[in-house]
Symmetry: C2
Subunit: 384 residues, 2 copies
């Protein structure tokens, strides 16, 4: 059994739904399709925002897990690099040619730290830290591989997940990193994940204002110790305009903006309307596979074709039919007027794009009704 760290090409097998040149109607279902025009407009919108606000974009690749999309974001979307969440995801991206990767997460297992240090010999590599002992382990590995690992101290600025509290704990970690062989203190990771899907604009804004204050106060304490932050990173698709205009954060980590999903579309803007700056560009293409009951159609996209953790998918462009129930391989669609026909195809807006993309091996890129490209989901299943 081959268990080396050599990156294998994504397997081309029985689950390939399309090939370039086909029409959309000929794509096998369920398949993950990208409306390339909408995708490109989304990428362009955020590029303009970061340019206007004088901040960097480090696009989060945990959303798409695709080296092709990462390269597109860096070439056309103003991204200076990418974020990953796992060492194996970062390995796949570096093997796919990406040269600037932040693992926006803790890496504390000895074997994974070793993999991280190897990777730092192949690309600019940054990682988050929230534990003093972990600094020692990272330093040992970096020194043994003769590389530099850049470290961001993670602040828990309200997300209630990883990260230390703002202020002194951050300063303590930063000092230790700065004094450790093989490590470089590069700044702060301050992602307020719990604010991203808060529907109400003012409530969302208040959460980010709190985070911004904590970060600003911490930056002042670090500066007093002559600890400079190259990166003050955080923000997601639900809040980036707050961090981006704060004058405190300088690197945004949006991921979902390229695709949007039903959960993000429930987030409201200042006027109480659905946030609309990004378009749905990602769809689960599905077919009606049974319609034995007049008012109910069954489609072929169930739990193995999408993650329903953030709610059921929305049928795009249709208000006469509704996706109401999901089992392993089936979706139940209310079809009160019996409008759907067997084999009819529908586009579903996934409830939550990130874990949905992770189920597929391929993105089918579509423009003007034709398949233009089939991109591998490079880091699909890379959870280690």
């Amino acid at each position: 059994m081959n268990t080396t760290n050599q990156l294998a090409e994504p397997v081309l097998g029985l689950n390939v739904p399309a090939a370039p040149g086909m029409t959309l109607a000929d794509v096998s279902t369920p398949a993950l399709i990208i409306d390339l025009d909408a995708f490109e407009r989304n990428v362009e919108r955020l590029r303009i925002f970061v340019k206007k606000n004088g901040v960097r974009l480090r696009a989060h690749a945990k959303t798409h897990k695709s080296a092709d999309i990462a390269h597109y974001q860096m070439k056309h979307g103003g991204a200076c690099g990418i974020c990953c969440q796992k060492v194996s995801e970062a390995e796949a991206m570096v093997a796919g040619g990406v040269q600037d990767v932040l693992v926006s997460n803790q890496v504390v297992d000895t074997k994974k730290i070793d993999r991280l240090a190897r990777l730092a010999g192949q690309a600019r590599l940054l990682v988050c830290v929230d534990d003093l002992g972990n600094v020692d382990d990272l330093s040992t590995a970096a020194a043994s591989h003769n590389v530099t690992i850049e470290c961001l101290v993670e602040i828990d600025c309200g997300a209630g997940r990883c990260g230390v509290q703002w202020g002194e704990p951050v300063v303590g970690l930063a000092k230790k990193i700065a004094a450790s062989a093989g490590l470089q203190f590069s700044g702060l990771q301050a992602y307020q994940g719990a604010a991203q899907h808060v529907r109400d604009y003012d409530e969302r804004k208040a959460k980010i204002e709190t985070a911004i204050r904590q970060v600003a106060d911490t930056l002042a304490m670090l500066a007093a110790q002559e600890l400079q932050c190259d990166i003050v990173g955080g923000a997601g698709t639900g809040t980036y305009y707050f961090e981006g205009a704060s004058g405190v954060y300088n690197e945004l980590q949006c991921g979902s903006y390229i695709f949007m999903d039903a959960a993000y579309q429930r987030v409201l803007d200042e006027s109480g309307n659905c946030v609309s700056e990004f378009e749905n560009s990602l769809f689960i293409y599905t077919s009606v596979m049974s319609h034995a009951t007049a008012a109910m159609a069954i489609c072929d996209a169930g739990l193995k074709a999408q993650s329903v953790d953030s709610g059921l998918p929305v049928i795009f462009g249709r208000d006469d039919v509704e996706y109401v129930k999901c089992s392993d391989e089936h979706g139940v669609i209310d079809d009160p007027q019996s409008a759907l026909r067997l084999n009819e195809k529908l586009k579903l807006v996934p409830g939550h794009c990130d874990p949905t993309c992770n189920l597929y091996d391929w993105y089918v890129g579509v423009r003007d009704g034709n398949v233009e490209c089939v991109w591998p989901v490079t880091a699909r299943g890379m959870v280690l």
Copy 2:
């Protein structure tokens, strides 16, 4: 790009968590591990049941998607064959050497019907039908490939999904199948999926009794037309003892019994206790990766390491800590006594085993604390 139907070997890449001979403690996380002793006992328990009740077992491979496990069930577990839900899943299983496969689902797309007919040239192949037009399409493909496709008419006996109503609609479909070139009418598919997780024993029993009556009445109507049913199939892990003892069903389609999961463990027996005939044999092995807050540990198994559609995972063998929240790559664990340490490993019982297995490329088989085997999830991601 290779888009032929040739089965590729599962990719050996960066997401391989273990190799045979390692200790469990050395397995990289998150990983899907099987307690082989518990798994084998589960397989043996159902083998004894079907033998005692004089019914067949056609184990559902949608749970595990593994050719290794399918072979084990057929060799040691009394299974006469397997069920699959998708054509691509069936292709992967046939390529893996399984020779008797029921696609327990409708196949209505022309290209998929063609793949199904090709497959019928390589193995005994059965499929479910609930549409008269579909019978024509299946017949055309079978005739053109010069094969026989066996058809089961699917009855919606309460699940509210695919299938026609019992009685006349079934007879009409059966007659048409029996008269169609390349097709053979082989019986009924009558899976009451909506009963499987009904917690209360009597309520669950009543649902299956209704299904049994509908099936028995339909069988009488078919017999009056001299249409014999080789297979009367259905049942799952939550209800198999009803169908298995009914004298009406003759082929059980249990899947989850090999692994169990938290959702099935909430199902109650006659005395109001948790059903206990099967053991937890499947776990998500996870590590504590952050513990910056005393009463909260963060583990490395989130939404990309499990499906939470049926609830959060349960931490196996621990009542001092609780998995309370799940995001893409993280699990939040309440740890009021600060009992957990960084890098400590835990076993999670997944909320829902089927879609969880579909996220992984490998099963890590463990016995006596050592990795005995690493089995590919042969049909992982095969949704077409």
